[in-house]
């Protein structure tokens, strides 16, 4: 009986730990496990009582519509984000009490910082940016879907499988404790034979394949599926950043996969890639991991830059300043990001010449990054800036991200790096670039494109208050860490002995609570907006006086995006049409539209890879074999059947488009003074036209 579940036993179930050995520590662990289990049960119950299973299956899980897949990525990101935020707050609570101790055991603390990092990078940031790219790329380039719609769904399945493994680790067994980087030999079988590092390895490898496939898919979509007339230099900047990110995903994920699989072989099969003995070498791991890890930073930040670019020009009602500069800057960042990985371990003992070379390369990356910030300032200059929620995030971004960049260039100097590497200074730095840099862009982007996706705007007051809370919470939580880092407080340290850290850690804890409030504000924004969706409705599709093609569709757009694939003449195609007074032209002729059929491939891959990862973690060999073989057989079987396209008859396309055009004809255009008022139904009187 034992063997059926490999090395998994009852003792690994964390749900009841608190009853066996009551303490704050076990209470936190068990509570997390219960939340995970009850959360899952609640979702199942809700779906059952509202009889939504069929709807969920038909409309979402088996859909290959890039818009729905994008939204599912965002939902996945939000679920994991909730976990990551709570972990952060628990960690800050611990740290505030950590003068010579703290409320958690060191082991549990280590699990927390490891899962927090892993979750936030791989299962929050990655799904968020992938979600945005999924939703926006085809709409912005005037395509009906991705180049490989089924692969797109499979990518989602793989990402979700990785997330599922990390969630399962809350309930069964422990997670690894070596941080999100999981450096061997600490995570090797000799030092940690338990299931923790295996959870990490398989979650990362599986979701890594998903990300890699996404990257290829997006890159091919952008290269090959652009609407006629859309030259590369006509693409919206977001598409440029998405293209660069896709290239990075395609080429930077293999190092992670290789590192992860080698670590898996070391642990499962006794190989010697990174072990202490028999010629293993953990320096190879550090190199491989950061060959992925550094481009990864830009994978996350580049689409955010894209969002900021769209945001500034839209809300300043101006053409983007220095489009070509931005494109060059983006491309150079993408290329240089492959040449800087060693700055993550200046202190490994290589020669000063090598350190200096990588230090210089790192400093060079600051040039295009700086140019981008200047470009956005120049775009706002002599604009007509509307202080909507996205602009509030943008304002916070300007100040805070600049500080993050500042500390980044300091870190690029190896001489200084010897003092601040592996300290809280680093923790402050990467939160400083990832929160204001990436997460603020995501939130701003949600405010901009949520109306496009769901047909109603988000509540402005709630949005602005929430944005202010994020900015304040971030500053309080992470800026003090620079100081304690300079004072020599190592990262990942569960306790400290210097009482001078205490005031800083208390500010940090208060900041963490502000961030928690901000998260609640975000949830509140959604709830309030959904309740007031009638007042906030923008069915006509262009609530912000948008500039790019996605705004030339109703909100939400039809499954087929565009009734007729648009002809593009210039950059900011939709803005141009509005200025010339000819938006919303009725096409002369409608044709049947062919769309890819729904498939359960994504669900199959999700189930199989979750099973495979779980089996390899717990040594359940039959399950591993069953998962691998079943998905292979399914995929081959799938390829042997015919899957005819879904055909939308021209009549149906005509009817749907005509209804929208007629609604626009009946509506009055709303100028920007009333943008956030109820009368904004998504038909914009453009600011640009008035000026020209």
């Amino acid at each position: 009986m034992d063997n059926i579940f490999g090395r998994l036993t009852w003792a690994d179930v964390t749900l009841f730990e608190v009853f066996k050995d009551p303490s704050i520590d076990t209470a936190v662990a068990s509570a997390a496990a219960w939340i995970a289990v009850l959360g899952a049960v609640a979702v199942v119950a809700l779906l059952t009582f509202t009889r939504r299973w069929g709807w969920l299956w038909r409309e979402w899980l088996t859909s290959v519509d890039h818009k729905k897949i994008g939204i599912m990525y965002m939902v996945l990101g939000f679920v994991m984000f909730a976990r990551g935020i709570f972990e952060g707050v628990v960690m800050r609570t611990h740290q505030a009490t950590a003068l010579d101790g703290g409320i958690l055991t060191p082991h549990h603390w280590a699990e927390l910082f490891s899962t927090h990092g892993t979750v936030m990078i791989f299962f929050v940031a990655m799904p968020f940016i992938t979600g945005f790219m999924n939703y926006l790329i085809p709409l912005q380039i005037g395509a009906r879907d991705m180049a490989f719609p089924m692969l797109n769904q499979i990518s989602l399945g793989l990402t979700a499988a990785g997330a599922a493994l990390v969630m399962i680790s809350l309930v069964l067994g422990v997670f690894e404790t070596g941080g999100w980087t999981a450096y061997p030999p600490f995570t090797g079988a000799a030092f940690d034979p338990g299931p923790g590092p295996d959870y990490w390895v398989w979650a990362i490898v599986i979701s890594g394949f998903g990300s890699m496939f996404s990257g290829m898919n997006f890159a091919v979509t952008i290269y090959k599926m652009r609407a006629p007339g859309m030259k590369y230099l006509h693409m919206p900047v977001f598409c440029w950043t998405a293209l660069c990110t896709s290239i990075l995903l395609t080429f930077a994920l293999p190092p992670l996969t290789v590192a992860g699989l080698m670590q898996g072989l070391d642990r499962l099969a006794g190989f010697h890639f990174f072990t202490n003995d028999l010629g293993g070498n953990m320096m190879n791991y550090a190199n491989l991991f950061w060959m992925f890890g550094h481009p990864e930073v830009y994978i996350l930040i580049l689409p955010a830059y894209g969002i900021y670019s769209e945001l500034t020009s839209t809300f300043a009602a101006k053409q983007l300043y220095g489009y070509t500069s931005l494109v060059w800057a983006t491309m150079s960042i993408a290329v240089i990001s492959f040449c800087v990985w060693l700055h993550h371990f200046f202190t490994m003992g290589q020669s000063p010449t090598i350190n200096a070379a990588f230090g210089i390369a790192t400093a060079i990356i600051a040039v295009p990054t700086g140019v981008k910030v200047y470009v956005w300032m120049a775009t706002l200059w002599r604009g007509r800036i509307r202080f909507t929620t996205p602009i509030v995030y943008m304002a916070g971004f300007f100040i805070l991200f600049t500080i993050g960049g500042f500390s980044g260039i300091i870190l690029a100097n190896p001489a200084i790096n010897y003092q601040v590497h592996n300290t809280q200074f680093i923790v402050a730095h990467f939160h400083n670039v990832l929160l204001p840099g990436m997460l603020f862009a995501i939130f701003a982007g949600i405010h901009i494109w949520f109306p496009k996706a769901f047909g109603f705007r988000l509540h402005e007051t709630w949005g602005k208050v929430t944005a202010a809370l994020w900015i304040a919470g971030f500053s309080m939580t992470f800026l003090p860490l620079y100081v304690v880092g300079l004072m020599g407080y190592p990262r990942r340290s569960s306790a400290y002995d210097n009482p001078e850290f205490v005031p800083y850690m208390i500010v940090t804890l208060l900041g963490a609570f502000v961030l928690l409030t901000a998260f609640a504000g975000l949830v509140g924004t959604f709830v309030v907006s959904i309740r007031n969706r009638r007042d906030l409705a923008v069915p006509l599709g262009d609530p912000w006086d948008g500039r790019t093609l996605e705004w030339a569709t109703p909100a939400p757009p039809p499954h087929w995006n565009f009734p007729v694939i648009p002809q593009v003449r210039a950059r900011d195609a939709f803005a141009l049409e509005k200025v010339e007074g000819r938006p919303y032209v009725v096409p002369e002729e409608y044709r049947d539209i062919h769309l890819p059929p729904s498939t359960m491939a994504g669900v199959m891959c999700f189930l199989a890879t979750t099973g495979l990862g779980f089996a390899l973690t717990w040594w359940i060999w039959w399950l591993a074999a069953l998962s691998a073989v079943s998905v292979l057989i399914w995929l081959i079987g799938h390829s042997l059947r015919d899957h005819p396209h879904v055909v939308i008859p021209a009549k149906e396309v005509h009817r749907s488009n005509q209804a929208w055009i007629e609604a626009i004809d009946l509506a009055t255009p709303v100028d920007r003074d009333h943008e956030t008022k109820r009368m904004n139904r998504g038909f914009a009187a453009t600011d640009m036209a008035e000026a020209t």
Partner: protein
């Protein structure tokens, strides 16, 4: 879609000038992107192997694991398989019937199967002389690199099997032609990787 004027995008597949050609163009291009990513993967494993050549930890080294006769036969089989696949591609272009294509495909598959069998014998020999991946960093890297390539070939064989079934079921439709073309790219790609392995792992190992 983006091409206003008609062009024969894939003369190698003989798809004509229709929408199908654009579709094939997208898919084949996508597969190139995948191959480039896969090439990075192989490149990294090569690099790791390079750093571990010396890490034999007193165990079997390049001289002990290299059997040039076996490697020569494997090379001949794999190159022969690639050659046969070229004939499959050509007959797919010039002959409407499916049987000739299938005939060459079966040649390619048999040859690759022979490659795998000889490689398997090599693996068995390595185990016999104690050159198991658990012995040293060098052997770990060796098994990972050669094994990764072997795994790719095995996956390719599975694909050839699936392709054969698809050709039998659907005939040589545009879709199928595009898939065979992609399989061909994959097949020749594995050849290139093998050239790297036999020169950098085996020839350089005993040089």
């Amino acid at each position: 879609m983006s091409n206003a004027k008609p062009m024969n995008a894939h003369p190698g597949m003989n798809l004509g000038y229709g929408e199908g050609a654009h579709d094939a163009e997208v898919k084949v291009f996508g597969f190139w992107v995948f191959l480039m990513s896969d090439l990075v993967t192989f490149g990294l494993v090569f690099a790791i192997f390079g750093t571990m050549v010396e890490a034999t930890a007193g165990g079997p080294g390049p001289r002990e694991v290299t059997n040039l006769h076996s490697v020569a036969i494997q090379t001949a089989l794999l190159l022969g398989s690639s050659f046969a696949f070229s004939w499959a591609s050509l007959s797919m272009k010039y002959h409407e019937g499916r049987w000739r294509t299938l005939f060459y495909l079966s040649f390619a598959a048999t040859s690759a199967l022979g490659f795998l069998i000889i490689e398997f014998l090599d693996f068995r020999h390595w185990i016999e002389i104690g050159a198991v991946p658990q012995r040293s960093g060098y052997l770990s890297a060796l098994w990972a690199l050669v094994g990764l390539h072997g795994l790719h070939v095995a996956a390719g064989l599975l694909w050839v099997g699936a392709m054969t079934a698809q050709i039998l079921i659907f005939g040589l439709t545009d879709d199928i032609k595009s898939r065979v073309t992609r399989l061909g790219l994959y097949w020749h790609f594995l050849d290139i990787v093998w050239v790297g392995i036999f020169s950098m792992v085996f020839l350089a190992g005993i040089a």
